[in-house]
């Protein structure tokens, strides 16, 4: 039997006193899709960084098809046939799709870029992948999902790449694009490439991957075939303990209406949306990317002004387009993208936690520092935020802890209605469960939750009721016991 395509054994790496990797092992065969799992800080990023030549290991060996290799820089890794699709969008928004795909490798004629050939190549590639994107369009004018697809096309354009790494490629994609991506991955595997697939979404592992490796605290703790492992067992490997169920749900919906929308419309995003959210209720909103779900939450919170319709909080009509009014009425909002609109990354954990609250604990404009400090400590405890101190800069925390800081800020003002947009995006399994527990407790204490999510299981696991949004209209409503993945998908597509 021939050597595996990639074999990494007993890889070690320390950053100062932090042991990022103590015993990293990863094996990848041709034609297989290999899921790389583990919580934040488990060592996934470090081992991928070593594979990509970004960082040098302290020890261990790497072999590609039986040949020992050691990369001093990213260029050497690329030359050896390794390509990565980054989680963060890293394209140049001012350049065209085609220019982005062939960035640094554009065909030339007489020293100038040969645009006709460039566009033709890009067109062929996109058509082959089944991505419906105009190669001449400016990258920045595309949706986030399309930009992600361009990123993928870019990685695949380097045809000599044998090992392809996908780092959470679906985090910005809707259901349809995800399916298309999966088809592409299967084709690539069938063509003999080896694919490393990093994701926080367990469902995806079972849909797409053939084999898996679990990292925990810098070491490989499990590896094998996906067909041979149960979902619960996989989670237990990742969190290093047993779990009883992924979702926590102890709330009982009441009958007291907390938030009512009456024929709320904002062109072109959504129109005539009616809904009633009760105290103690978790109402899920499901819809594809572009269905207007985030825009609906933005509008309820007052970041945008509706064209027509009413928002009632606790029966009282709400002043539209005013975040201040929404906050005072008891609405809080955990936005979709914490780095862009949830946190001030360069500020401390404490400053972030009290940012929404300071306006309520001031006297003549001066912050009541004792109250602020107490509030910050209470938030850290309530959300279980792991930070060495409240003065820690928030960008130094892991994704899960950053998300808890957003939750902490939003709930520090004691809201009655919590709007959640993708509340667990980019959060590892352990932190996910803590967030679910928090949402459940919030509702059990009489809070009302409106939750947008594109993770079907999350919607089904947490919601008392699910509304399906399609092209800006509510097209279906399911009570908890009638919600199934199939029913939701059928209604949404």
């Amino acid at each position: 039997m021939s050597a595996p395509l990639l074999s990494m054994r007993t890889i070690r790496k320390s950053f100062g006193s932090v042991h990022a990797l103590t015993d990293g092992n990863l094996e990848l065969k041709r034609g297989e899709i290999h899921a790389l799992c583990g919580g934040n800080g488990a060592g996934k990023s470090t081992i991928l960084g070593i594979l990509m030549g970004f960082t040098r290991p302290d020890g261990g060996d790497i072999q590609i098809e039986g040949q020992p290799v050691r990369f001093a820089n990213a260029h050497q890794a690329l030359t050896a046939g390794i390509a990565i699709v980054q989680q963060e969008l890293s394209g140049v928004p001012q350049l065209s799709v085609a220019e982005n795909i062939f960035l640094g490798a554009a065909p030339r004629r007489h020293g100038f870029v040969d645009f006709p050939t460039l566009n033709r190549h890009a067109e062929d590639l996109l058509a082959r992948l089944g991505f419906d994107i105009d190669p001449r369009a400016m990258l920045g004018s595309l949706s986030v999902a399309s930009q992600q697809l361009v990123e993928i096309a870019k990685a695949l354009s380097r045809q000599d790449a044998d090992i392809l790494i996908f780092d959470e490629p679906t985090s910005a994609l809707g259901e349809r694009d995800t399916q298309r991506l999966f088809d592409v991955l299967r084709d690539l595997a069938a063509a003999g490439k080896g694919i490393i697939y990093v994701t926080h979404r367990l469902a995806e592992i079972f849909t797409i991957a053939d084999t898996f490796t679990v990292f925990k605290d810098g070491a490989t703790v499990a590896t094998g075939r996906v067909a041979d492992i149960h979902r619960e067992r996989l989670i237990e490997h990742m969190i290093g303990g047993t779990i009883d169920g992924e979702y926590v749900k102890d709330n009982v919906p009441g009958t007291d209406p907390r938030l009512q929308l009456r024929a709320l419309s904002r062109a072109p995003w959504f129109s005539k949306v009616d809904l009633t959210l009760h105290a103690g209720e978790i109402l899920g909103i499901y819809g594809l990317v572009g269905s207007g779900r985030s825009q609906l939450l933005d509008t309820i919170y007052g970041l945008e002004t509706p064209d027509e319709g009413d928002i009632l909080v606790g029966g009282m009509p709400q002043r539209p387009g005013s975040v201040g009014a929404a906050l005072r009425a008891g609405i809080s909002y955990v936005t979709e993208d914490r780095a862009r609109s949830g946190l001030v990354l360069c500020a401390s954990v404490g400053a972030n936690l009290s940012l929404s609250k300071v306006r309520f604990i001031q006297r003549l404009g001066f912050i009541d520092e004792a109250a602020e400090k107490a509030g910050i400590l209470a938030s850290i405890q309530r959300m279980g935020i792991k930070t060495p101190s409240p003065d820690q800069i928030v960008s130094n925390l892991s994704g899960g802890n950053q998300q808890k800081v957003v939750f902490g800020r939003c709930t520090a003002v004691a809201p009655k209605v919590l709007l959640l947009d993708e509340p667990t995006r980019g959060v590892d399994v352990g932190a996910k469960k803590e967030i679910y527990r928090f949402i459940s407790e919030f509702a059990a204490d009489g809070g009302a939750v409106l939750m947008v999510s594109s993770e079907l299981e999350e919607i089904i696991g947490m919601s008392d009721r699910v509304l399906v949004l399609k092209q800006g209209r509510t097209v279906a409503e399911f009570p908890r016991d009638e919600t199934t993945q199939k029913a939701l998908m059928m209604a949404a597509v």
């Binding site: 990093v198 970041l303 360069c346 400053a351 940012l355 520092e369 925390l397 892991s398 800020r409």
Partner: protein, 337 residues
């Protein structure tokens, strides 16, 4: 990819006190060179290390220091204000036009000779700042462009006030703001400078507004979702910068005894330099007033020291230019290990 591992910061950080050390180092260097001259018998005494010279340095940085306070707020809010020098000149001209006895009217009382010019100058400065803030927050124009416009416009207004002529022969009561001394020792501009820093420090560190300035500069979108009226915050930041430019205009005009149309030219650059040397990031969200204070002091000591040592002004410019860039390089390396 997963987030970075949290790393605890050292308890005593050079980061926090590096600027103070740099300042002390500079003072030590200048006084050492002076001491050598004394030992060589060139100078009778070490002229750098005297109370008079200390007061002189503080006096010299008072105008730039006041401008730099406003600039600190602006820079933390992720903006820049290029118009402070011109607004200073405009306010100074407005003040002078109220503070001279040769306006054709002679019935003004002494109190009026102080109140009217001061109020008019502060209002004029704040108004220019309000226009900046309005354009930036309402039309989402880059601060660089908006205040570049004001840099030209305010200079034009300065000349328009008097048809391009300077105004001199100012009332002695008004001139007290520039030349007076408290207890015969501390110059009034130094008192104003210290008061401005103290009040601004309280605003930036102890009030909700100060917190919002950091948040808006750090991430405007997140600030908005946190319930902050980001437009109002930006508006007030530029009003404050304009107001302080007006105050600086009063000090400079009172100090020199006349309002010149070319006053304050390129002062914005010194103010920005003080803020940046003080550790603020032009990307916003980061900066401290204590840093700015020492930034202004470092520039002051350098000007003073080089003057005392008789270094020609063109070499002074070269040294100053190098210092600003080196300070920022050190700062950026410190931030990203």
């Amino acid at each position: 990819m997963s987030g970075t591992t949290p790393i605890a910061k050292p308890t005593f950080s050079l980061q926090k006190y590096g600027i103070v050390l740099a300042f002390l180092g500079l003072c030590a260097l200048v006084s050492l060179v002076c001491q050598i001259k004394v030992m060589q018998g060139v100078w009778p005494v070490n002229v750098f290390l005297t109370l008079n010279n200390l007061m002189l340095i503080l006096h010299q940085i008072s105008v730039n220091g006041v401008l730099a306070v406003g600039m600190t707020f602006v820079v933390i809010s992720a903006g820049i204000d290029l118009s402070v020098g011109s607004v200073l000149a405009f306010s100074g001209m407005v003040a002078a036009s109220f503070a001279t006895r040769y306006t054709g009217v002679t019935v003004w009382s002494d109190t009026y000779m102080v109140l009217a010019p001061v109020t008019a100058a502060l209002l004029g400065g704040a108004l220019c700042g309000a226009v900046n803030g309005w354009i930036i927050s309402r039309f989402r124009i880059q601060a660089f462009i908006a205040t570049l416009g004001m840099l030209l416009a305010a200079r034009g207004m300065t000349m328009a006030v008097t048809g391009g002529n300077p105004i001199s022969a100012l009332s002695p009561d008004f001139r007290w703001f520039g030349t007076g001394r408290l207890f015969g020792v501390v110059p009034v501009p130094v008192i104003i400078l210290i008061l401005v820093f103290a009040v601004a420090w309280v605003i930036l560190n102890k009030t909700v507004f100060g917190r919002y300035v950091y948040a808006v500069g750090g991430n405007e979108k997140s600030a908005r979702t946190s319930g902050i009226n980001t437009r109002a915050v930006l508006m007030w930041v530029y009003v404050l910068a304009g107001f302080l430019s007006g105050l600086a205009g009063i000090i400079l005009t009172a100090k020199t005894g006349s309002a010149q149309t070319a006053a304050g030219t390129s002062y914005e650059l010194d103010a920005i330099a003080a803020v940046v040397i003080g550790g603020a990031s032009l990307a916003g969200g980061v900066g401290r007033l204590t840093g700015t204070f020492f930034g202004a002091l470092i520039i002051g000591v350098m000007n003073n020291g080089l003057d005392i040592l008789g270094v020609e002004s063109f070499y002074q410019l070269i040294i100053k230019g190098a210092l600003i860039v080196i300070a920022v390089i050190i700062d950026s390396r410190r931030m990203s290990p």
